[in-house]
């Protein structure tokens, strides 16, 4: 499992060298937080920022994870992945390294968003709350980045990956409980939103905000992450390039 850390270390070195990337991934969630969180006239709550902040935190993880698959695609197009697959190191260490990097990078970005949210006046200043939010985001990040890394392994090139990414990202966000509570949604949207894994993560954070332990949503996320990881490991073990 040490090898997983070496793969991760490599991606961190690369990431920190590309300074534009570090910044660009933060723009979208920050914009949501400021322009929607502060400006949207909403009637169902008097503190929309508090309501939307969990959604934006999860959106940050979502964006980071979706973008993360392209790292594997990059290795594949470069021919680097072929070398990795011919290494004696267990192949899942490539997968775990990528997942860990993507998730930790997402958490770093989420930290910045969390700081902005707190500065804007959202009520998050509770160490236990923040720690449990990180735990939820971590599980969610693993779930999604594992899916995206496996998709990247299977699809042909950057274009196909970008197409899948575009197809998945916005619908996942808009059909979640990020922007409004279930009782404010039209019935059909609420039905979709209750199935959406993004809602699971958001609802878990909202429960934590309200001081409730989100047992069911957390369990749902954990089971989802475990299943997806299992499938991904199998796909990676059998990968031929």
């Amino acid at each position: 499992m040490k090898r997983m850390l070496y793969y991760m270390e490599r991606d961190f070195r690369r990431w920190l060298r590309g300074r534009v990337n570090v910044l660009s991934t933060l723009i979208l969630p920050a914009a949501w937080l400021i322009f929607v969180g502060l400006a949207l006239p909403i009637r169902f709550t008097d503190n929309y920022l508090d309501f939307i902040a969990p959604g934006i935190l999860v959106l940050t993880m979502l964006g980071a994870s979706l973008q993360g698959g392209s790292l594997l695609m990059f290795d594949k197009v470069l021919g680097y992945l072929q070398k990795f697959l011919a290494l004696p190191a267990p192949r899942e260490s490539i997968l775990f390294g990528k997942i860990l990097f993507i998730t930790l990078r997402g958490l770093i970005q989420a930290t910045v968003i969390l700081a902005i949210a707190i500065l804007l006046g959202a009520n998050f200043l509770n160490p236990a709350l923040i720690a449990s939010i990180y735990a939820v985001l971590f599980i969610f990040g693993i779930l999604l980045s594992s899916v995206m890394a496996t998709i990247a392994l299977k699809v042909e090139d950057h274009d196909s990956y970008a197409a899948i990414n575009a197809m998945v990202s916005m619908p996942l966000f808009f059909t979640s409980s990020a922007l409004m509570p279930y009782d404010q949604m039209p019935g059909w949207l609420a039905a979709i939103a209750r199935l959406n894994p993004v809602s699971y993560a958001i609802d878990a954070i909202r429960d934590l905000q309200a001081g409730v332990f989100p047992a069911t949503t957390l369990l749902g996320l954990l089971i989802g992450a475990a299943l997806v990881l299992l499938v991904s490991v199998m796909v990676f073990r059998r990968a031929t390039v």
């Binding site: 040490k2 490599r10 990795f84 004696p88 190191a89």
Partner: protein, 334 residues
């Protein structure tokens, strides 16, 4: 090159009754296409060059031997380990340098090599990386970003990466493609030095002159079948003997030396075929002089691997219409 390497032990004491690489009936089919057809090879502590036209099955063969593709039929062993039954053990013994320049441009040369040493689980990754870099003459530029490296340097960096775990077998897919003349020569010098240390090198290439110069043995593959395997010299000898051309005026003198066959005459140039052209040239020249003919020029042309290749494979490639979808499918499956 012969400095003592403390941490990097290339070719350190191996012995086995089996040849390092052995294939028996190795076959790969993609639907109706037979990419590799019952390959039987035995390769041991030498530079083995696999030559063939595009799409002849070279890369598919390498991918099967490096456990990246599962054979449809047959098997191969690397250092006694089967590629189908024991792929992990095979991967411990080999290094694979694919055709694309697979180095990370955003890392420095040293970081690239250290990364591989760590992933291979080498005990002292930093020291091993330093030595591998020194061995490939990359030490002075080791801390520059690979983005700034030339093509030749990137290739050498790939070789350095491939050496960190002291592999018994090195697979190189088109190692000199896209390099300038000096870069190519340098890569081959390094490859030959590795063989001299006891490593088995399996290389695919399009460049006949390079294969002729560097490979101990050559296999020529066409439509997935190996049509010939031998040393470059033996292959060349099998195709045709040396051609001696003599420019002189007058009729063909009588009493030709033994073992020389007269081929024909065009515009005052006599052409002969002989076993040792370099020795027969002067002999023939003296025979001409004795007959009172003024010899104006003597030239000897030895057959090249190009001749061998064309004789065995022909120029028949690209006869089929280019089927884009099939091509893409093949690329994907390779």
């Amino acid at each position: 090159m012969d400095t003592a390497f403390t941490y990097l032990k290339i070719g350190s004491g191996r012995s086995s009754s089996l040849a390092t690489i052995e294939t028996s009936g190795l076959t790969k089919r993609f639907e109706s296409l037979v990419a590799v057809d019952h390959l039987d090879l035995a390769i041991d502590r030498e530079i083995f060059g696999l030559l063939g036209p595009n799409g002849s099955g070279k890369t598919t063969t390498v991918k099967m031997l490096t456990t990246l593709l599962i054979p449809t039929e047959g098997d191969a062993t690397i250092c006694g380990y089967s590629v189908t039954k024991d792929p992990l053990a095979v991967r411990e013994q080999i290094s694979y340098v694919p055709q694309d320049m697979a180095v990370d441009p955003k890392l420095t040369g040293r970081e690239n090599v250290i990364f591989f040493a760590k992933v291979y689980g080498v005990p002292r990754p930093r020291e091993v990386a330093d030595e591998a870099l020194a061995m490939l003459d990359l030490a002075p530029r080791a801390d520059d970003l690979v983005r700034t490296y030339s093509g030749g340097m990137r290739r050498r960096l790939e070789l350095a990466q491939a050496l960190v775990h002291d592999p018994a077998v090195l697979f190189l897919d088109e190692p000199t493609i896209g390099l300038d003349v000096a870069g190519r020569r340098r890569i081959w010098e390094h490859i030959i030095a590795l063989k001299d240390r006891g490593m088995t090198v399996f290389v695919t290439t399009h460049y006949m002159d390079e294969a002729d110069h560097a490979c101990d043995r050559i296999g020529i593959i066409d439509h997935g079948r190996v049509v010939a395997t031998d040393s470059p010299a033996a292959l060349k000898a099998s195709v045709c003997r040396d051609i001696v051309s003599i420019r002189a005026d007058g009729p063909l003198p009588g009493g030709l030396p033994e073992g020389v066959a007269f081929l024909g005459r065009t515009d005052g140039e006599f052409r002969f075929e002989a076993d040792r052209g370099d020795e027969m040239g002067p002999v023939l020249s003296r025979a001409f002089a004795r007959a009172g003919l003024a010899v104006r020029a003597v030239s000897v042309r030895q057959p090249t691997l190009d001749d061998v290749f064309l004789a065995l494979v022909g120029e028949s490639d690209d006869t089929e219409a280019f089927d884009d979808r099939r091509f893409r499918r093949m690329l994907r499956r390779r």
